[in-house]
């Protein structure tokens, strides 16, 4: 499929430089990364509110920006780009009512009235037409901002931290509404967030942004499961990042020596004899039930140790597990994520000795640590 949005550009911002390479179809791309990593500036460059130093930006085959660094060959002004932009603080016009705000970008008055009532319905804003922004809740403001952007019939929608100021139930509802809307409109959406849960919930594609650079971009699952760099592994919550040495490789597995143990990882790019950095997500560390014989399939990479700390996180527990190597006497802390029901069934508590299995299929060697 030919991409709808093509953006390859760079820009210097003070002592910070932005380097972007991305292509996107009719899907949701989440730009995920820590605050100050340049996510908002990427959106501004695409929308034209900031001018890149050089590069190429194309939407539906139309060149929006093109420069070789010396001469700007094309730079379509913001108002002709047809790119919707929802700002982090909503930026509603305070002197206009909800209806006036939404209709502001409307090109055809007659059609606008119809579209207005559809959008009011879809964005759950019915009855608020005559309200002013200061009379709305945060969630309502965000919905008005999104409806206003959609009224202008954008070819691409950019959302800057759309959920950051909303509480959880409001956030969930808006997320599902947005995903539904995106499907109906069939336009590409680029969404910025620094929240891992939002990134999980919203994206088809995920780009991890760090220091103005896209560290990795790909299908969401792929980026979560197979981070290419240590920073990506860290930002996406891999938590357990370990260092070992490849000691063997065969048909079915790569063998990694770690703390005197030999772990099995799925076949992947690795040179025997080389030092490697690998990771495993906390939800892929399984606690083996002591009252049952170890089942086939989860007896991979067994470790014993003690639970040293626990944090109750609502629907799951984060357990900190100290594994001690019999051979070397060194120990290592693992983070384990376990659903609350499993925590109770296994009768876990701090100080308890347990056996864990590092799921083989989830052991991933980071190619560019």
């Amino acid at each position: 499929m030919k991409p709808i949005l093509v953006a390859h550009f760079s820009k210097k911002l003070g002592d910070f430089s932005l380097n972007v390479n991305l292509e996107l179809g009719k899907e949701v791309l989440v730009l995920f990364g820590p605050s100050g990593s340049g996510k908002t500036s990427i959106l501004r460059c695409i929308s034209g509110l900031l001018t890149p130093d050089q590069g190429l930006i194309e939407l539906n085959g139309q060149v929006l920006f093109s420069s070789d660094g010396k001469r700007v060959k094309a730079n379509v002004p913001v108002h002709l780009r047809q790119i919707g932009f929802v700002f982090q603080d909503y930026a509603l016009f305070p002197h206009m009512t909800v209806a006036q705000n939404i209709l502001y970008g409307c090109k055809d008055r007659k059609k606008g009235k119809e579209l207005l009532s559809i959008l009011m319905e879809k964005m759950r804003l019915k009855g608020l037409e005559g309200h002013y922004p200061h009379q709305l809740s945060g969630g309502q403001k965000q919905r008005v901002a999104i409806a206003r952007a959609l009224m202008a019939e954008p070819k691409l929608l950019l959302l800057d931290e759309p959920f950051s100021a909303l509480d959880r139930p409001v956030r969930r509802k808006l997320q599902s509404d947005l995903l539904r809307l995106q499907e109906e409109l069939a336009i590409p959406v680029v969404l910025v967030t620094h929240d891992l849960e939002d990134a999980f919930a919203m994206g088809h594609k995920l780009a991890v942004v760090n220091d103005g650079r896209i560290e990795q971009i790909g299908e969401k699952e792929e980026v979560f499961r197979h981070p290419r760099t240590r920073a990506v592994a860290r930002f996406t919550g891999a938590r357990n990042i370990l260092e070992g040495k490849v000691v063997g490789k065969d048909e079915g597995a790569v063998h990694i020596e770690w703390m005197g143990l030999v772990l099995e990882a799925p076949t992947q790019e690795a040179t025997v004899g080389s030092d490697v950095v690998f990771c495993i997500r906390p939800e892929d560390v399984m606690i083996v039930r002591p009252d049952r014989p170890v089942r086939e399939g989860i007896k991979e990479n067994l470790l014993t140790g003690v639970i040293v700390r626990e944090i109750h996180r609502g629907n799951h527990y984060s357990l900190f597990f100290k594994a001690t190597s019999v051979e070397t006497g060194r120990d290592y802390d693992f983070e384990i994520s376990i659903p609350v029901h499993a925590y109770w069934r296994l009768d876990l508590k701090v100080g308890k000795e347990v056996m864990v299995s590092l799921k083989k299929s989830a052991l991933h060697i980071i190619p560019e640590p």
Partner: protein, 209 residues
Amino acid sequence: MDLSPLFLSLKVAFVATILTAVTGLGFAILMAKARFPGKSLVEALLTLPLALPPSSVGYYLLVIMGRNGPLGWLGWLFTWKAAVLASWIVALPLMFRTAKAALESVDISLEMVARTLGKPPWRAFVDVTLPLASRGILAGVILSFARALGEFGATLMVAGNIPGKTRTIPLAIYTATQINRMDIASFWVIVTAALAYAFILAVNKLQEK
């Protein structure tokens, strides 16, 4: 009693305020939006009349409008039109600074959003920033009117103190005290104080949100 100073003062202040409002807002927009070399120098120049003694503003106007000056051909010296020019120059910094502050207080992202919604920059400015800054701009207009109404030094130098022609209220107060007519002086003092007080109340009302 001769009430001509009141009507003359209102006429001069009214015309001067229109002039000040238009030019002051124009400069405010330019300074708030445009970027060009030497901007800070221009900005300082626009504020200068606020810090200068009005008599030196009067001096410059006298030079410009004098018989050999570049605007001498107008023949405005010692007419009410010269008083208008004096009031205009003296009130301009107030209008300029108040309007600029009002424009700059409007969140810049509102204009950005308007542009992403398909409006060219000038349209975004007219639809969004201008209405949101309107109270501040109006406050500037009222301040300018108050300042124009009280203008004395520069007016005295370029318009003189001709009864019925260029004698505005401040000049009438001055003249009355010179000839020891404290009853006339105090009458005009009360009139100006009442006017000024009303304007300040109006400005405060506009600037509270």
